[in-house]
């Protein structure tokens, strides 16, 4: 489905066989992947605000400036439109830029470049231009960052033909998918959750990639299909473990990429469970939950034993106050209620 870039020396393979796993955080997984890929391919550059000496405020690019120098790890002025547009121009002419927008909320400043240029340039020019461009942008709420530092825009970008949208939640997925993103000849929005950076997990040793458009069954189950993205996966897994004790088995599916999206995995699961809950942090209106449900309803209506339920953020700007913020972000209780609601209709 994807063409590996000419620069990609190693063959594509899902997780390397027989490799011993190591435990690391999501943040370390990103950092290590960036380092490995930059070491492999001299055309890869990183650019963004504070990515150099500061190593990005979350520490994600730490050490790369020292290792690869100011020529390949570029601190930019605060100019998001130019960061994104310059990355496009560089990508079109021989570099493989990895642009960073520290909070995805500020991607809006580069929206023209992203939506009207990055997404369309290959198509408009009859396929004549490769766009090996990754935009890494932390998403998500929590921690009192309020209305302009808490948003998740995956639905906006998956709406735009020509963009790939990746939103992983575990160190293993982050590594394999970021490597795939960097080697892709098409633009990728790579959304990391800022509250997910310290999440630890096993990562296979050695070089591996994970293909886009392939969901992971995070937990197998027979009663309800729970599709979750980004850090909501971890909340859904907690709920699934609790409900298992009560005799309800959730099948938790993490699509990992929003576009391309693995509908086959979701449909196969729904054919088994006949019940669907979708969980995402972004607010509900016009969100990806609606799209996922509509696809399932259209393709497998007769499989459903109960109306699907979407658990999502509330349709309000993120408030600063801690308890108001907690009302907006989906929590375990809301996921649990949704699962109970769809299973209660069991006849």
């Amino acid at each position: 489905m994807r063409t590996p870039s000419a620069a990609a020396a190693a063959p594509h393979a899902d997780v390397a066989e027989g490799a011993a796993p190591r435990v690391m955080t999501v943040k370390q997984a990103i950092n290590e992947t960036l380092r490995e890929e930059m070491g492999r391919d001299p055309t890869i550059i990183i650019l963004g605000c504070d990515v150099g000496i500061r190593g990005n405020p979350f520490g994600v690019t730490k050490g790369l400036y020292e290792e690869f120098g100011a020529g390949r790890v570029l601190d930019t002025p605060i100019s998001e439109a130019a960061i994104i547009g310059t990355s496009l121009g560089a990508a079109a002419t021989g570099l493989r830029p990895i642009a960073e927008i520290l909070f995805s909320d500020w991607i809006t400043i580069g929206m023209d470049q992203l939506v009207n240029q990055v997404a369309k340039i290959r198509y408009m020019f009859g396929g004549a231009i490769n766009v090996p461009l990754v935009i890494r942008a932390p998403v998500g709420a929590g921690g009192g960052q309020a209305a302009q530092h808490s948003q998740s825009f995956e639905s906006w970008f998956s709406h735009v033909p020509g963009l790939q949208v990746v939103m992983p939640a575990t160190p293993r997925d982050v590594k394999g998918l970021l490597r795939t993103a960097i080697r892709s000849d098409d633009p990728v929005l790579f959304f990391e959750h800022k509250r997910g950076y310290e999440i630890k997990g096993e990562v296979p040793d050695g070089e591996y990639t994970i293909p886009f458009g392939k969901a992971e069954i995070a937990r197998a189950g027979s009663d309800v299909t729970v599709v979750t993205v980004s850090v909501m996966r971890h909340k859904a897994m907690t709920v699934a473990a609790e409900l298992s004790a009560d005799g309800i088995e959730c099948e938790v599916i993490d699509p990992r990429t929003i576009y391309p999206f693995d509908y086959a995995a979701v449909l196969a699961s729904v054919a088994k469970t006949h019940r669907l809950v979708v969980v995402h942090e972004a607010n509900r209106r016009s969100g990806i939950g609606g799209e996922i449900v509509s696809q399932v309803v259209e393709r497998a209506f007769d499989q459903l034993a109960a109306p699907p339920v979407i658990v999502a953020g509330l349709d309000v700007p993120m408030p600063y106050n801690r308890s108001l913020e907690a009302l907006v972000i989906p929590d375990e209780a809301r996921i649990r209620d949704a699962v109970l609601a769809v299973t209660a209709r069991r006849t």
Partner: protein
């Protein structure tokens, strides 16, 4: 650790500042002794407020992010002293100083930072969105550069409705490289709007020194490119800022259009409450601290016979007491209830029509 050596980063920048920008404190003609002492009081209040904020943030009374106005006090206080109550200001992510300088109530500010109902935004905004609209302070923003056109819009209102107010648009040097900065300055220039673009050039945008972000040595140089007056003043000096803003405001009110003022100083503290400053050589901070606007003003008041050391001590104690009082007020203020979540999303009438509530 790899260090870039640049003008801003090396201690040579201190010498350049002393040579080119530093101005002795000298009150503008006609400013009363009481007004001068009031400048000290307000700067001290900002200092106390933001010093307290850091401690409260560390003890988790303040959630989220907070950026301190320490070292910049002379700019907001000098500028707002030159304004009328009916003038507007727009702010940045570093808005506590702007709010206090424009006459904001420290109690309601502190309550906002603690996310309480009595806060200026009912607990919805926090530090990064502090506002005091009743005082003409149109609010802080977390998006660097985003207040530029908002100030231009306020200028358009003044011009269209023939109102005498001016708008001061505070922004950092980092903001000057956003596209919207250029669009806004150009628009205000070509429409001849009563707007004062006041750049707080603290020589850093988090870890990026100003001279690595722009090739013009000064921000005010850029005014030429837009056909408007531009000036660089000592940003550690409230009188220098006052004079520049006063002149710009008079020009704006009499139909002379916008001005770009660069108040040059140095952020000798961290970018935000938890910044470890590992991107620069902090040894230079001590050299810069010699220009601390509050210390300078205290010395000036004493030397010019406007205040005794006892007066200064009392003013300091009063500032501390006002902040302590604000903290007590904030702690006593209730948390917003769940029912307030939707308040303010739209006008009340629309909310009622649509039945928007929890």
């Amino acid at each position: 650790m790899a260090h870039r050596v640049t003008l801003s980063e090396s201690c040579q920048a201190v010498e350049a500042f002393e040579r080119d920008t530093l101005e002795p404190l000298q009150a503008p003609a006609g400013m009363t002794a009481e007004d001068q002492r009031d400048i000290y009081r307000r700067m001290r209040l900002i200092r106390e407020f933001d010093t307290a904020v850091k401690g409260l943030w560390k003890r988790d009374f303040i959630y989220g992010l907070a950026h301190s106005y320490v070292a910049a006090e002379a700019i907001a206080v000098g500028a707002c002293a030159a304004l009328e109550r009916t003038d507007y200001i727009t702010s940045t992510h570093r808005g506590h100083g702007h709010t206090i300088a424009k006459g904001g109530d420290p109690r309601r500010m502190m309550a906002e930072l603690m996310g309480r109902v009595d806060g200026y935004c009912g607990g919805k905004g926090g530090s990064m969105h502090i506002a005091a609209v009743d005082m003409g302070m149109l609010g802080a923003t977390g998006i660097v550069g985003s207040a530029m056109p908002i100030a231009v819009g306020a200028g358009l209102t003044a011009k269209t409705l023939d109102r005498p107010f001016v708008t001061v648009c505070f922004h950092g040097d980092g903001a000057t490289n956003q596209g919207v900065w250029h669009e806004s300055v150009n628009l205000a220039a070509v429409w001849n709007l009563p707007v004062i673009f006041l750049c707080e050039n603290n020589q850093w945008a988090i870890s990026l020194p100003y001279d690595q972000a722009a090739k013009n040595p000064t921000v005010s140089d850029r005014a030429q490119g837009y056909g408007i007056p531009g000036v660089t003043v000592d940003g550690f000096n409230p009188f220098a800022v006052y004079r520049a803003v006063k002149e710009a405001a008079e020009r704006a009110r009499s139909g002379g259009g916008p001005t770009l003022i660069e108040a040059r100083f140095y952020r000798y503290v961290g970018h935000f409450v938890a910044d470890d400053e590992r991107y620069r050589d902090t040894d230079c901070n001590i050299l810069w601290e010699r220009f601390d606007p509050i210390g300078r003003m205290a010395t000036y008041l004493a030397e010019s016979g406007l205040a005794t050391p006892e007066w200064v001590a009392d003013a300091d104690a009063a500032a501390k007491a006002a902040v302590d009082d604000a903290i007590e007020f904030a702690k006593a203020s209730p948390e917003p209830s769940a029912e307030t979540l939707w308040d303010g999303l739209f006008s009340p009438e629309f909310m009622r029509e649509q039945g928007i509530s929890l």
